[in-house]
């Protein structure tokens, strides 16, 4: 009897325990499910710098081919409420899986002499070119191909696959949005270019810079591309003749000075590559040795730990090397206004690796502002019409976009008029490394024209002649100088009448913008007319460029509907009657308004292309995913 009673008691206890377990977990499943329906879902990820997946449109076709359900699934996981916070927890958990140790992101195991793999790199480089269709009305220069899904699975892979790499579509063309986008769209740009560079992956945590843990992108470049780069720059000099000095500066990156020796086999030598490029320059192109001066100052804070760019201090030292080449004496560092952002800076390398080590070792963002007077202006990079004043130092830039501080980002064609009084005018061709460099030129040239190689709508030689430049500078980091797409860009600027801008839209007669602005006029048209007024009001503007506006009207007005809507929204939110005011108000949006409003998701979900132009795109996807 006693035995039975004990059993009964035990059963009752077990039953109670089961009821509790059941209630707790059913409440969790149902509760979390219900709450996740009620809470607002995020649309962008700040830390990953990308637009999140969107809710799919239902159609019988999309249902039957499975894309509806697949997208629904992606949407649900991607837009989980508090996802950025949860992702941070996930990074902490991933870190707790073992003893913190060097992390290799997309690094392939190398067991032999680095020289040997150069050949295989070349083959791979060729193989991973992919065809990407471009929606009409949008010009595309850089479209990172998708990272293979396999690599995404393990969380350590770089989440570049959905990064909206190309942001300059309709909104940029409308001209009213330039300054407004500010740092917001600028950073999308540099997210784009990092993946375009042929790299060997990223090492985090095995590397120290300035006494703290850092991430470093490994150099995977090679001579084949380097030689092409040198040849094309030499042909600029041939075209321009003796009256224009052509300088070429190839900038080393952090991997060259901070990679521990034991990892050197994972990265090719930048020094050797830069020397190789310089040795191939002909026709009197003047090489600028930034390497030596950067190396001499490598104990100073000249690169970022969490970002693939150099710091403003690094750019300063490169500037001193450039002054050497142009026969000037640079102002001492003490002659600049030094400012440091209060906010810590966690840059692109964190965006790619999501490695908590980087988040825990943020950068200090210091910049040097010239005390000289200058006037900065932004031109529409396609039409070359003036669109905004540009403060050059966009001091509101924040978050992972902080490097957008300089010039406001990559895609802007900037003109700076200075009080240097040297009688020299310079046209500078650059990728993002040049952004930090350009402001230093204020003390050396009367007029500075900053051109991003990837975004310029005119023939470069013609332009250099038009503005009457005395000097031309090509400044690129060594990854870029080894990247075929960027070299293609330099070549196209030389040979094509429309530079690197590719018009893909056939003229469509039906007017697309149906939404109207405050005055009841179609927004697109208003911004056009505003643009022209500005042009007439500006005397610095060469006459010829007004014609350019006329010629290029149509591509701007024939945007695909999706991105037009984006542009319309942008314009509506800012109501740009006076550009100057926009300037003021847009300091904050970089923090408060997420980049959605400014960056059309051009690259991620192209709105059904009607006239798609296949474009060959090279991406290091294979390398990154490893």
């Amino acid at each position: 009897m006693g035995y039975v009673r004990i059993n009964l008691k035990a059963d009752a206890r077990k039953r109670a325990a089961s009821i509790i377990t059941t209630s707790v977990f059913l409440a969790l499943f149902i509760g979390i499910g219900a709450v996740s329906l009620i809470l607002e879902r995020p649309t962008v990820s700040e830390t990953e710098n990308r637009e999140l997946e969107t809710f799919p449109k239902f159609s019988l076709e999309s249902y039957l081919n499975g894309s509806f359900t697949a997208q629904l699934d992606k949407y649900f996981t991607d837009t989980v409420p508090f996802r950025d916070t949860l992702n941070e927890y996930a990074a902490v958990l991933e870190n707790a899986k073992g003893i913190p140790s060097p992390q290799f992101y997309g690094v392939e195991i190398v067991n032999h002499d680095p020289e040997e793999i150069i050949d295989s790199l070349d083959t791979e480089y060729a193989e991973i070119t992919t065809e990407t269709s471009v929606p009409d009305g949008q010009e595309r220069i850089a479209v990172p191909a998708e990272i293979s899904s396999a690599s995404i699975s393990e969380g350590s892979a770089m989440p570049v696959e959905t990064s909206p790499s190309v942001t300059f579509s309709s909104s940029e063309a409308s001209g009213t949005e330039t300054s407004q986008s500010g740092a917001g769209s600028a950073d999308e740009e540099f997210v784009g270019d990092i993946t375009d560079f042929l790299n060997n992956g990223i090492i985090v945590n095995g590397v120290d810079m300035y006494g703290e843990k850092a991430g470093i992108m490994l150099f995977g470049g090679n001579d084949t591309q380097g030689e092409r780069y040198a040849n094309i720059i030499s042909s600029y000099k041939r075209e321009l003749g003796d009256s224009v000095n052509v300088y070429n500066m190839v900038v080393p990156t952090s991997v060259e000075f901070y990679l521990p020796k034991k990892y050197s086999k994972y990265s090719n030598s930048e020094k050797r590559e830069i020397e190789f490029i310089y040795s191939k320059l002909t026709d009197g192109v003047i090489p600028v040795d930034a390497y030596s001066v950067l190396e001499a100052h490598k104990d100073e804070y000249i690169y970022f730990r969490t970002d693939h760019h150099w710091s403003d201090l690094g750019a300063y030292y490169a500037y001193t090397a450039f002054c050497n080449a142009i026969g000037q004496t640079p102002p001492a560092l003490s002659e600049y206004t030094v400012k440091t952002k209060d906010e810590p800076f966690v840059g692109s390398l964190y965006g790619y690796t999501n490695d908590i080590t980087l988040k825990n070792n943020p950068d200090t963002f210091t910049y040097y502002m010239t005390k000289s007077d200058f006037k900065g202006e932004t031109y529409n990079y396609r039409t070359l019409t003036l669109s905004e004043a540009n403060p050059i130092f966009h001091q509101y830039a924040s978050g992972s976009n902080m490097y957008g501080m300089f010039l406001g980002g990559d895609g802007y064609h900037v003109k700076i008029t200075t009080s240097a009084g040297t009688g020299r005018k310079i046209v500078m061709f650059k990728e993002s490394y040049g952004n930090a460099f350009a402001p230093y030129l204020i003390d050396s040239f009367d007029e500075i024209y900053v051109i991003d190689i990837r975004y310029f709508g005119k023939n470069a030689v013609q332009y250099i002649k038009d503005v009457g430049a005395t000097d031309v500078l090509f400044i690129n980091n060594v990854f870029a100088a080894n990247t075929s797409k960027l070299i293609d860009g330099i070549e196209r600027l030389l040979t094509s009448p429309t530079g690197t801008v590719v018009y893909t839209a056939p003229p469509v007669t039906t007017s697309v913008p149906v939404e109207t602005d405050q005055q009841g006029l179609p927004v697109g048209q208003v911004s056009q007319s505003q643009q022209q007024q500005t042009v007439q009001g500006q005397q610095v503007q060469p006459v010829q460029q007004t014609q350019q506006v006329q010629q290029t009207q149509s591509p701007q007005q024939t945007q695909p509907s999706a991105s037009t809507t984006q542009a319309v929204q942008t314009t509506q939110t800012t109501k740009t009657a006076q550009p100057q005011q926009t300037q003021q108000t847009t300091g904050a949006p970089a923090v408060t308004a997420p980049p959605t409003t400014t960056a059309p998701p051009a690259a991620t979900t192209p709105p059904a292309p009607t006239a798609a132009v296949p474009q060959t795109v090279t991406s290091p996807a294979g390398k990154i995913s490893g």
Binding site: A17, T22, V80, I99, I109, N111, H112
Partner: protein, 473 residues
């Protein structure tokens, strides 16, 4: 959709549970389960829902046919089995093996017949076997015929085991299809099982898998000895935790809805011989081949070696249309055969540690065959394991990967032994002895479960892509 998916855990499952338990009546509940199962299936490729329903319909009719002629004691009844086999295996061969077969015919004869690779309908390898088990069992008198099509469709489409097993035989669930009792014991056990399975998959298997893939995806460089061994060992953990985790989740889900499935895994890595391993690994597949191929062919009594060869060829081939799977199957068949011949007696006499070591070595060698569909890379990895690639034995990346996940690797090794089961039994025993101790143990268990659920969910936010290995078999 897969079980380790936030959409499933926090949307599909709660909705299904609520709707299911709103209805008191089994017929409605079955209806809910069918609807949810078809929706679940359609998350992959909606078009194949039709194939699934068609397949169910065919074998439902075959069952009726067999039953009708059996009652008349007519030999025609066997035609129902033949039809079932032809149709099911035909579909399987068409979708899964036709490309492989054509390629090999082309390679052998020098012809260039057109090779078409179909996308494999999800779960087809599992549900075709399930419906075959039904018709054969009806014919042999082990199962009674199912006259209600919806009940039969429920059996075939039940989302718990539809896409990646276990291969649930009709006889296992026949009575529960029409009569199930709710039990809070089952419910809580089911939840526990589900969450443990989720943790196995998301926390352990995915971590192991990411290391294995990084180490074994050598393309431009030969693989170092450390990388080859670590990669294969991590894959051995991955495939066990992945697949047994899925089975745990399936069994747990079954319990939540009142179904009792058989176990599919029983700590295979603690085995001392190949035959024991296969009594503990993917049990539903092993017993399927035993009962529907090996024994009908004559089992131990007639041409046993041939029977073993056929069964293990099929076991390997079932896993994929590629030679490496066939070699993998035959490799196990070879071990099982020599164990039957003499090795068993030797193993029984020597200390059991040698049996364990022998089995682990065999398992790792097996996974090496299993992992590489490309035989060239298989060879490269094999030489790498024995330091024959002419490179340093170790490399930075391997060491840092192993270091960076060392706690999880230790956990994976520990939990592949029956720790959890022993702890569970001890806890249950406490219930009879001390209320306080039992309460404490249960509270501890629930906290661990919540922890696993929380950690898995957070990791899932980050891992947007985590298919199960067995999803495509």
């Amino acid at each position: 959709m897969v079980f380790s998916d936030l959409l499933f855990i926090y949307m599909f499952l709660p909705l299904c549970l609520v709707l299911y338990y709103i209805f008191p009546n089994t017929t409605y509940r079955n209806g809910i389960l069918i609807i949810f199962s078809l929706v679940f299936y359609s998350f992959g490729e909606p078009i194949w829902v039709l194939l699934l329903i068609g397949s169910a319909l065919v074998d439902y009719l075959n069952g009726l046919f067999i039953d009708k002629y059996k009652r008349r004691r007519s030999r025609i009844a066997v035609l129902g089995v033949v039809m079932s086999l032809i149709i099911n295996l035909g579909v399987l061969v068409l979708f899964k093996y036709s490309g492989f077969i054509m390629e090999n015919i082309n390679a052998l004869t020098g012809l260039s017949l057109p090779v078409r690779h179909f996308t494999l309908p999800i779960g087809i390898s599992f549900y075709t076997f399930q419906t075959i088990s039904y018709t054969v069992d009806v014919y042999c008198g082990r199962a009674r015929v199912q006259r209600n099509f919806l009940n039969f469709l429920l059996y075939v489409s039940l989302f718990f085991q539809l896409v990646a097993g276990p291969i649930v035989r009709y006889t296992t669930v026949a009575s529960e299809i029409s009569r199930r009792r709710f039990s809070v014991f089952d419910m809580s056990k089911g939840i526990e099982r589900f969450i443990f399975g989720l943790g196995k998959k998301v926390i352990i298997a995915n971590s192991m898998g990411s290391i294995a893939d990084k180490l074994l995806t050598f393309e431009n460089a030969p693989v170092s000895t450390a990388a080859a061994w670590a990669g294969i060992l991590m894959f051995s953990f991955q495939i066990y935790y992945d697949f047994s985790g899925y089975s745990d989740m399936a069994i747990g889900l079954g319990l939540m809805f009142g179904f009792h499935f058989d176990e599919n895994f029983n700590y295979p890595y603690v085995s001392k011989s190949a035959s024991e391993f296969w009594r503990r690994w993917h049990i539903s597949l092993g017993t399927f081949f035993r009962d529907y191929v090996y024994i009908p062919m004559g089992g131990n009594r007639r041409h046993q070696v041939l029977n073993i060869a056929v069964v293990w060829f099929l076991t390997g081939f079932w896993h994929g249309a590629s030679w490496n799977y066939i070699f993998w199957g035959l490799f196990w068949g070879f071990l099982v055969a020599i164990e039957k011949l003499f090795l068993r007696k030797v193993l029984d006499k020597i200390p059991s540690i040698f049996g364990h070591l022998y089995l682990l070595a065999a398992a790792v060698a097996g996974w090496l065959l299993f992992y590489f569909e490309d035989l060239g890379r298989l060879k490269q990895c094999f030489w790498g394991m024995f330091g024959k690639n002419g490179i340093p034995l170790s490399d930075d990346i391997t060491l840092s990967l192993l270091n960076g996940s060392c706690f999880i690797i230790i956990a994976a090794a520990v939990f592949s032994c029956p720790i959890y089961r022993i702890v569970g039994e001890k806890t249950d025993a406490l219930a009879a002895r001390s209320a306080a101790a039992y309460t404490a143990a249960k509270i501890g268990e629930n906290i661990i479960l919540i922890g696993i659920l929380a950690v898995s969910s957070i990791l899932l936010v980050k891992q947007s892509y985590n298919p199960f290995l067995y999803f495509r078999y």
